[in-house]
Symmetry: C2
Subunit: 428 residues, 2 copies
């Protein structure tokens, strides 16, 4: 495809107008303000449109969309114990497949081209990702309340098999290894996970310091902060995606900053909705930490919309510090794109440059809420809506265009969910 006369965000996050951008064999093949001398198949008229790299939703539990709004109004622990955990015990391969496809549909329509997911049913996740065309780093975390060693854990054999198969994938689906959290794991398990990741050269995805209680209990029980504890267990010797990090202390930030392969994924909607608090984003950025954005599950968000996360991250940082210039549109946009790609180990995407994968999103700027436009990134971060996405492309394949999915039969998804959801609920 050749995007003609389009405005785009270049690899330095500057805005370039009236550009020609060609994609071929899944990669960005041509970038110039001059028309190419050769053809590119379809010519896409970019007048009034803006081309951006696809968003990376770096912390998600996509299938939890089936619990969107379920148990609203309950405090966190009752919500988990009375609603979420009982529901999750009833998943089967059918219900989780359709719930997964619903999540893919939602993310693709919002301009997300890649996401990092922590959940169960790895093989189903791989199928959903393969069929929908999106990219995903997936992990199924061992949870070890009772001290069961890693290799005796219920899910270890199938996950280990997926790690062997997809742990070093260069394709759209990449299997990671997960650790749910400090408070759900024993110290021997954390050490086993760190060693397993190192031995297999796979990436890790962990919830850390989401709530104050979690952070304070770790200090009380282990005599050190969660970050220090994970460091002592060898976790940070791997490529690690740490979700939340709301309650990290200044010294923890210094600790994390020592490890260039450790990323933090900020989940502002979830953190605010559950009353968890405000992560110290400015401090983490200043320390040089790679900060990304995530939606968390739609059960605690209640959608999978990275536009909302960019916007909310900006609002929190400014509102909470009283500093109206606390984070810049460029920093927020990088958190939503290239920082996530880096955290996923996908160094061939996240910015628009020649040779990178054609993971691209077109925004329609002919909307009242985007007029006038003094600065494109400012309008994207503060004014744009997910519905301004008119095209989502992954590896050069158009997955979504003008409200229509190319890979997902959305009405079938709705029908199947209407069929399977009552079957789960009637068991509760």
């Amino acid at each position: 495809m050749l995007f003609k006369d389009i405005t785009y965000i270049d690899e330095n996050f500057n805005t370039v107008e009236h550009a020609y951008i060609g994609t071929k064999n899944g990669v960005i093949d041509y970038i110039s303000t001059e028309k190419p001398d050769w053809g590119y198949g379809e010519v896409y008229d970019g007048a009034g449109k803006v081309l951006i790299p696809g968003f990376v939703n770096n912390h998600c539990h996509a299938a939890m969309g089936l619990m969107r709004g379920y148990g609203e109004g309950l405090p966190l622990q009752r919500w988990l114990d009375e609603k979420i955990f009982p529901f999750e015990s009833k998943w089967d391969e059918n219900s989780i497949y359709w719930a997964g496809l619903l999540g893919m549909a939602e993310m693709i329509a919002c301009g997300t081209t890649s996401f990092s997911d922590m959940y169960f049913f790895d093989a189903v996740a791989e199928k959903v990702v393969r069929e929908s065309g999106i990219k995903c780093n997936f992990d199924n975390p061992p949870i070890c309340f009772d001290g069961t060693p890693l290799k005796k854990q219920k899910y270890f054999p199938p996950v280990d098999e997926m790690v062997k198969k997809f742990g070093h994938s260069k394709g759209r689906f990449l299997e990671e290894f997960g650790l749910h959290a400090e408070y759900t794991s024993t110290e021997p398990l954390v050490k086993e996970v760190a060693a397993y990741a190192k031995e297999n050269g796979v990436r890790l995805h962990i919830h850390m310091d989401e709530t104050k209680l979690e952070h304070e209990n770790c200090k009380k029980n282990r005599g050190m902060t969660t970050a220090k504890y994970f460091e002592s267990c060898g976790i940070f010797e791997n490529n690690v995606n740490l979700a939340h990090c709301v309650w990290v202390e200044d010294e923890d930030i210094a600790t994390l900053a020592k490890y260039p392969n450790v990323s933090v994924t900020h989940c502002p909607s979830s953190n605010m909705k559950l009353g968890s608090g405000f992560a110290p984003i400015r401090k983490m950025l200043d320390a040089g930490i790679n900060v990304c954005l995530g939606t968390d599950g739609a059960s605690s968000n209640n959608n999978l919309n990275i536009f909302e996360e960019m916007h909310l991250a900006a609002m929190i940082c400014r509102g909470n510090t009283g500093d109206a210039d606390n984070v810049s549109p460029k920093e927020l946009f990088k958190m939503a794109t290239v920082n996530g790609a880096k955290s996923q180990g996908r160094f061939d995407t996240g910015v628009i440059k020649k040779g990178n994968k054609a993971d691209l999103v077109v925004l329609d700027f002919n909307k009242p809420h985007l007029v006038p436009c003094y600065d494109v990134l400012t309008n994207i971060v503060f004014s744009a809506q997910s519905s301004d996405v008119v095209l989502t492309m992954v590896d050069g394949d158009v997955l979504y265009r003008d409200g229509k999915y190319k890979t997902i039969d959305i009405n079938k998804v709705y029908d199947k969910i209407s069929y399977y959801l009552p079957k789960i609920l009637e068991q509760l």
Copy 2:
């Protein structure tokens, strides 16, 4: 029009499915789960749709949309002094007309059927409101840094004329009287404004306690809080819309609660974006104050989207208190609808009930981010997007449907703004 087989939010904010709702002569004429025996013109198929009362954006400066994103990143005072005030000095009747229409287009597409606006050029505002079909309470605030008495103020004669003409309007345009803020007015002016409003029986619209500096300076300079000061000047003996109220103290909340005709308009996006802080919404609701929602101008928001304000209000209340159940979807939805209507003195709208004005909005719930739906209000507050609005009706007239405006030529608006905006900028 007859909405057939539609889900709607009733006057008690409960959800009713499979209803028939008929509108005739601008009012809601029929509500039942039974089909009416008589005809209503067009039948609108409501399957998969939700009918809600239109939103009331109760604090806005609509024309400031022309400064959307202008001066991004500057701290508040420099932003005002270097960007906003110089720009505003260059307004003329043409530029403000088209900027106003842009604001109407944006609000109508987001499901707003009425708004309260504080700005200049009252007669142009009346024209824009009349032509677009929306409802508006408008005021032009006297600003008196220099002690000029009210009736000698530059804008007094034309505004007084508008008050005489539209101050008691039962129609779509209602002229109010405004006071910019405590810190821009002398005490004699505040007293004159209070007396003028009382004498003419018109409503008042005032910025109050937006920033900590404003609140603290008032205490220092006048020996009392802003609320106490306004009370002492007789302001609260009128119907008053107080925008912001971020820094009200507990005693101020008790003061405001004594006056049933005083409403507070919460503007979460603007308050967070400018680093002003978090208004104590829970405390105000508990005191029985009529709390509404507003976007403020798009220059400090940066759009005019009440969905974002409902969502952000929920997020702030929960994130800031650590209480995951701090405000309910029903409370938030009321803030966005009937509470605003009450503040505007429009007691014939804001809820769907027979005899009320047909100020209605249809949402398309056939969207991935709205599936499944355990509770309609929860999905509206936490998951819905402004783009889910597929129809906006005011007084029974359809103003917007499936992305098309009935009263506004949006491409002409874009063209005219492209023409007039550079003329303003080149003078700066």
